[in-house]
């Protein structure tokens, strides 16, 4: 392996605990691209107890049986976490403040025990009876609103958007007030709440959050919500507002509440929402090739994009010559398809817009589910291509069945992805670790490891590897002790914070960051080729964490044939 080691002085800083990541190391010395990370080049940030809220949260970890259902009458039943049972455990007064901290986004409450949270989240809009006078509404940690430039409500995550019309007008007033001074408001802070604004022509989007997520993350989430609106309506909706300022777009969005609530839910479990990359279902190279070949075949016959997916993971995708698909478009399209129940019941043909590809115009998507998880999307610009695409699908289906792709997909789904417990023991440059591992590299069974006793001997709990070149990421399976949606969301938010700090242009480009708090040790490593985000036991020491990261990178290289879609289609970015 062509690794070179860059040397930089060790900037460990133990105190005072920095609130932000400003001590991370700029990469001016990054003339050398390292494939090997050395302890000396890792910036350390330790936060002993600086995040009081996190500390308290740790102290009051709620199990799956904790009560959850919200009520506007008081604290009992206001706590979040998982479970749907309201039979309350006694709540002592001292816990009340914590309780408030805990009163999380209550729509996420029914989750526990699965690494793919999506499977257990019950979609749909919650708490429609609430309005801005409800205590429960005011306590929700993260609100999203969409309104028109005349202040008319278009969407609200919680509560009845009509009852919230007055609130919507107030948000409009804030935006207009700043605009009337020739400026625009990005965000403002009110106590522990951050209010983030995004103005997209006649459509205003607002997030009110006390989750302490960085501004960039929340703004990115608003961008995705706007993108989801475009998927359904295209940018042509602007013309309606131009022609008629009174225009009410809610009827055009009729029945799509679930698409938005599902997207918002994914902000808490899907790293694609902040990495702007997609992920693949792990499959043997030959299996993915077989799927790719038939999709490529179809693409020659006037199909713009052919995408085969399993839940939110790509099996294979192909674009017609010179057409490229942005990962955000994959995310939004998959969310649109998966959250709309009607696509599951029969083959469908629907107008959709890919905002990153062409925001002003519709494409037509032929959508067909092969089984409960696996679905095909064929995109074309021709509105009368249904029967042609149906024939294409029949051909694809035959090939997929013949080459056992669909059964391999189901098997991969059962086996899961990469388990940190399977991390090969030692990594040395240029030496493949596969020989030491228990399974040969081309066998998907490698992913089928029972990780019963100890999940992670290396202290590594979880990682996300993002290949910049491929626009793809791979995220390891969660260990058994990070099983609730709340725990997973907390980790994703920590990654998200890390991501934002590493991509903050204001403080220069960083290469590495080592961060310790009550919950984890987090290590981030950014090179020109990849970004690695890893979470360790909070007691993990730096040197061994770094060693482990090197092993992970080597491991990824060893299995990249199976976890990534490689060179299958003419991506042009």
């Amino acid at each position: 392996m062509d690794s070179s080691i860059s040397s930089a002085s060790d900037h460990e800083s133990h105190s005072p605990p920095p609130k932000h990541f400003s001590h991370a190391e700029p990469s001016e010395n990054g003339g050398t691209i390292t494939d090997q990370l050395e302890p000396g080049e890792v910036q350390v940030i330790i936060e002993p107890g600086s995040d009081a809220a996190a500390g308290r949260r740790t102290g009051l970890e709620l199990g799956p049986e904790a009560p959850s259902s919200p009520s506007s009458s008081g604290y009992v039943g206001e706590r979040g976490s998982s479970g749907s049972d309201t039979s309350g455990s006694p709540i002592i007064p001292i816990a009340r403040e914590i309780e408030e901290e805990m009163s999380n986004e209550v729509d996420d409450i029914t989750l526990h025990g699965f690494s793919d949270s999506q499977t257990t989240w019950i979609p749909g809009k919650r708490h429609v009876d609430e309005d801005d006078a409800s205590i429960s509404w005011r306590k929700r940690k993260k609100h999203f609103f969409v309104l028109s430039h005349s202040g008319k409500p278009i969407y609200s995550r919680y509560g009845d958007k009509y009852k919230l019309a007055g609130f919507s007008a107030t948000l409009h007033a804030v935006i207009s007030f700043v605009e009337s001074r020739g400026d625009s408001v990005k965000w403002l802070r009110a106590g522990k709440h951050q209010v983030v604004f995004l103005v997209k022509g006649p459509i205003y989007l607002v997030c009110i959050s006390c989750t302490e997520e960085p501004y960039e993350s929340l703004r990115g989430q608003l961008e995705l919500i706007y993108g989801q609106i475009l998927v359904i309506l295209t940018k042509s909706v602007n013309r309606c507002f131009e022609k008629n300022p009174k225009f009410d777009m809610t009827p055009l969005l009729g029945g799509t509440d679930i698409v938005f609530s599902s997207l918002i839910h994914s902000f808490g479990w899907n790293p694609a929402t902040f990495l702007h990359a997609y992920t693949c279902l792990p499959l043997a190279y030959a299996t993915r090739q077989a799927a790719g070949a038939i999709l490529q075949d179809i693409a020659y016959s006037g199909v713009l994009f052919a995408i085969l997916m399993c839940r939110h993971k790509v099996i294979s995708l192909v674009g017609a010559q010179k057409a490229s698909l942005h990962p955000d478009d994959i995310l939004l399209l998959a969310n649109f398809v998966m959250s709309s129940e009607s696509f599951r019941t029969s083959e469908s043909f629907s107008p959709v817009c890919l905002p990153r590809y062409s925001p002003s115009a519709f494409l037509y998507a032929y959508i067909h589910y092969f089984d409960a998880d696996t679905y095909l999307m064929l995109l074309t610009s021709s509105s009368d291509a249904f029967y042609h695409l149906k024939e294409c699908r029949v051909r694809i289906e035959m090939v997929l069945l013949r080459s056992n792709v669909l059964s391999e997909v189901q098997r991969s789904l059962l086996d899961g992805g990469m388990h940190v417990g399977d991390l090969p023991p030692i990594a040395q440059s240029g030496l493949s670790q596969l020989g030491m591992h228990r399974h040969p590299s081309d066998s998907p069974e490698r992913f089928l490891e029972p990780n019963s006793a100890i999940d992670s001997p290396s202290g590594l709990w979880h990682f996300i590897y993002f290949s910049i070149f491929l626009d793809q990421y791979v995220s390891s399976e969660f260990p058994s002790f990070i099983k609730t949606h709340q725990q997973q969301k907390r980790l994703y938010r920590a990654y998200q914070k890390l991501y934002a700090s590493m991509h903050d242009n204001g403080i220069g480009h960083h290469k590495t960051q080592f961060r310790r708090d009550e919950n984890y040790v987090l290590l981030c490593w950014v090179t020109q080729d990849f970004e690695l985000y890893a979470a360790f036991d909070p007691l993990a020491d730096k040197a061994s964490a770094i060693k482990t990261c090197n092993r992970v990178v080597q491991w990824i290289k060893d299995v990249e044939n199976e976890i990534f879609l490689l060179g299958a289609s003419p991506f042009s970015w």
């Binding site: 202040g151 713009l304 017609a320 057409a323």
Partner: protein, 206 residues
Amino acid sequence: MPSRRRTLLKVIILGDSGVGKTSLMNQYVNKKFSNQYKATIGADFLTKEVQFEDRLFTLQIWDTAGQERFQSLGVAFYRGADCCVLVYDVNSMKSFDNLNNWREEFLIQASPSDPENFPFVVIGNKVDIDGGNSRVVSEKKARAWCASKGNIPYFETSAKEGINVEEAFQCIAKNALKSGEEEELYLPDTIDVGTSSQQRATGCEC
């Protein structure tokens, strides 16, 4: 079933400061009245659900500040209004004379597609004061002005006593609803692959 659909109507209340815009709104929405005068800062917003001819709809009422210093917000606030309510105090000639300015200012700023037929409603408030003895604007005069502006519906109210408020807002809702009926087919473009994919190949907006 478009007729069963819930509709939101934006109603703007305009008039000189102190004529009782906020009181009218509070009387209508909350059935409350306070003798204490509190100037509105910028704007207040209230929501009221209304049933009308078997349809449920929501009035989003924008109670704007009468003071001139807030008028810079006009364009943004008036945008997309479904009905505009002009309020004056029957005991103040100046507030009545200013109705014309308010109306014109609204039409300029909101620039509705059909200004001739934009639904206004005029309310003469505070008819209760002094048993009507301090009144300086006669009903006849007010109605004449309304007639000259395209037969604007006219109501005389007392926000304090709750007289005629419900009726006035019923009419406001009805007129707002009338103005929002037109509907068009939503037909965005379809991609022309020949040009757009080439365009995509060179640059990407991401």
